[in-house]
Amino acid sequence: MPEPRTIPWWRDRRVVPWLVQGGVALVVLVVIALLLGNLVRNLTAAGLLLSWRWLGQPASFDVAESLIPFDAAMPYWRALLVGLVNSLRAILIGLVGATLLGTAVGMAAYSGNGLVRRLGRVYVEVIRNIPLLLQLLFWYFVVFLSFRNGTEALQLPGIVLAKSGLYLAWFAEGWRWQGPALVNGVWQAPWRFSVEFAALLTGLITYTGAFVAEVVRGGIAAVPRGQWEAATSLGLHWGASMRTVVLPQALPVIIPGLNSQYISLAKNSALAVAVGYADLYSVAETTLNQTGRALEVFLLLLGAYLVIDLLISLVMNGLNQLVQIRER
């Protein structure tokens, strides 16, 4: 009587997935255990085992610019908070600027004027193929540091560009519009940005703007041609058909693309350290140099950027829900 042919257990379809997963889990667990073991052993030897008490000690370094009160006697956590606020300021203004610039350039790709179309194309191709860090250094060292102080500063209506900073007109006390003014050889204005911040913002906005432009262009391309033609035959001119007919329909395609560009802008803002702007990463690096607490600083950085990314995603997903075309 022939033996009934059965499949050996290691080729049984019910067992194989568990074998594979078990194998992978074993390897991963062993590697993680080894790494963690080393980490604990090495950190203990260096006397740097995970601890958060140092956050309360005085930082004893100054942060160049700060929106909240800070001095060197305040604790490390306060310094890191200053850095976080500075980062958030750069990210928020950068998001708005990149969106405006990118939308304008993205719409320019559909302009009737050939020169405008080509200029937009050249801008995108030039900016996207040059590293952001290089662009930031260029803006800072070549452009913004070349301005002069005092009467030799570059003066435009409502804006003054000097080596000591960027001065903007804004409402002063009592809702009085006030432009930059020279007082005793020093510029004064309601709004002043440091040169570092201005260079960082310019770099982030022009760089991210090129990527946003591509997203917007793609979104507009996804709107059927007939919509353009229908809008034009209703008598709408180019701007009105773009604003009232085409862009609203392009938004559901544009917003998910914007989400990833916004997140990459937020992460790129950490390059501020190269132009000397005191953002979160730059303060964290100083903190590491003073305390040697590499692991804790890394975990804080990681956590902060993760939360920023998540916040951006949440807001953008909410927006996406709003602009979805509702079928009736």
């Binding site: 997935p17 594979v20 009737g112 590293p131 950085l301």
Partner: protein, 403 residues
């Protein structure tokens, strides 16, 4: 008449209405002013001697002078391999001649690149022996490309299938030539620099991150929960953090994670961080490619009796990778740009070298010249990668194949 049609198209494109005409005239004036200003600066005020005096430093950093013949040999071998592959590709068209392989914009970019390559030795005022080597290597490339194009068709097909293998072999050989060993004097990574280090870091990370990315993408789409969640965790962890914080991890914490003495040196640590970083982004690109292959393909392959790995290898992955190609190359281009971040952790790649040059009292304040040169260099490299990717994409596009 050509002139008339040119005038007509100019009129249609730039001066269609009064508003358009005003806008075009204003923009043209702005462009002219900017171009004149730039040319005046470049040929009047700028002092290009900062570049011309430091070409070696920019090219290879502090690589020992008496060992630089190894790098020239490597460049010559690369030119030979390029010429051979190029010629063979031209000799064996894949029947995709129906489509346009090089659209107008790409042709302009190729012309710009070719002009810059031809002009570079004169612009950099290279010493005569270096210029001769440059042109000799270019001649070698073109000669082999011509020969392979002429006689490549007659090679037996078995031999042709082995030709792509010269690239991995050349990469290994290049590593030996650069770092030494096998009888050559050792040159430690701390002495690599400039363009050499940039290209090495980028190429290593590109080559190593691709298989990693494909594996992670397959893992993320796997039906096994453990593999799926593991891949998701890895990809989202990496994509959530700025690259600079990961480089920070590599420089400051990796030493604690590995047993004493096993941690690689700073250059290789950075290379591995770049690899793991790029791998997560490649995984997302490949995942999008996998998602666009209809599920029926896998089912059809399985019902033909192929195993899961076989159906992936022969049916699903070839289609998915072709679709994912533009996004993947886009990631590689941004990886090449990201190598500049290594200068922030003290490595002397192109940007790091540039900053040491500008710290030299002889060249203080020559920021504009140096940064512009680097920008042109990076633009060329990234544009070349993009062009290659688009040409490959068109070559692989099945809609071009004869039915």
């Amino acid at each position: 008449m050509a002139a008339n049609s040119l005038l007509a198209s100019l009129r249609r494109e730039l001066f269609a209405s009064r508003g358009d005409a005003l806008l075009s005239a204003g923009l043209l004036a702005l462009i002219a002013a900017a171009a004149i200003g730039l040319l005046r600066w470049a040929f009047g005020q700028a002092q290009w001697v900062v570049i011309q005096a430091n070409t070696t430093l920019f090219a290879v950093g502090r690589y020992p002078l008496d060992q630089q013949w190894r790098l020239w040999l490597l460049v010559a071998l690369l030119a030979l391999a390029t010429g051979l592959s190029w010629g063979l590709l031209r000799a064996n068209p894949r029947g995709d001649r129906s489509g346009v392989l090089w659209p107008a914009n790409d042709r302009i970019a190729v012309a710009v690149l070719a002009f810059l390559t031809a002009w570079a030795p004169a612009a950099l005022r290279l010493a005569l022996p270096l210029q001769l080597r440059w042109w000799g290597i270019t001649a070698l490339l073109l000669a082999l490309r011509w020969a392979a194009g002429r006689w490549g068709r007659r090679l037996p097909p078995q031999l042709l299938r082995w030709v792509p293998l010269i690239w991995p072999l050349l990469y290994l050989l290049g590593m030996v030539l650069i770092s030494g060993g096998l009888g050559l004097i050792r040159v430690p990574p701390s002495e690599w620099g400039g363009l050499l280090l940039t290209v090495l870091m980028a190429s290593f990370a590109i080559l190593a991150s691709f298989p990693l990315g494909v594996l992670m993408a397959l893992g993320r789409r796997s039906e096994l929960p453990l593999l799926r969640w593991g891949s998701v965790l890895y990809i989202e962890f990496i994509r959530g953090a700025p690259l600079i914080t990961l480089l920070f991890l590599g420089q400051n914490i990796l030493g604690f994670l590995l047993p004493g003495g096993l941690a690689p040196d700073r250059v290789w640590r950075a290379a591995w961080v770049l690899t793991f970083f790029c791998g997560a982004y490649v995984a997302e690109a490949v995942r999008a490619g996998l998602a666009s292959v209809p599920g029926g393909q896998q089912e059809a392959a399985r019902s033909l009796g192929l195993s899961v790995p076989q159906s992936l290898q022969h049916v699903v992955l070839p289609q998915a990778l072709r679709i994912a190609l533009p996004a993947t190359v886009g990631q590689f281009i941004s990886l090449l740009q990201d190598t500049t971040l290594l200068s922030l952790i003290g490595l002397l790649e192109l940007l790091g070298t540039a900053r040491t040059v500008m710290a030299n009292p002889d060249f203080l304040g020559k920021n504009a010249e140096v940064y512009l040169t680097l920008a042109v260099l990076f633009w060329c490299c990234c544009a070349a990668l993009g062009l290659g990717s688009r040409a490959l994409e068109r070559r692989l596009d099945p809609s071009h194949f004869p039915a």
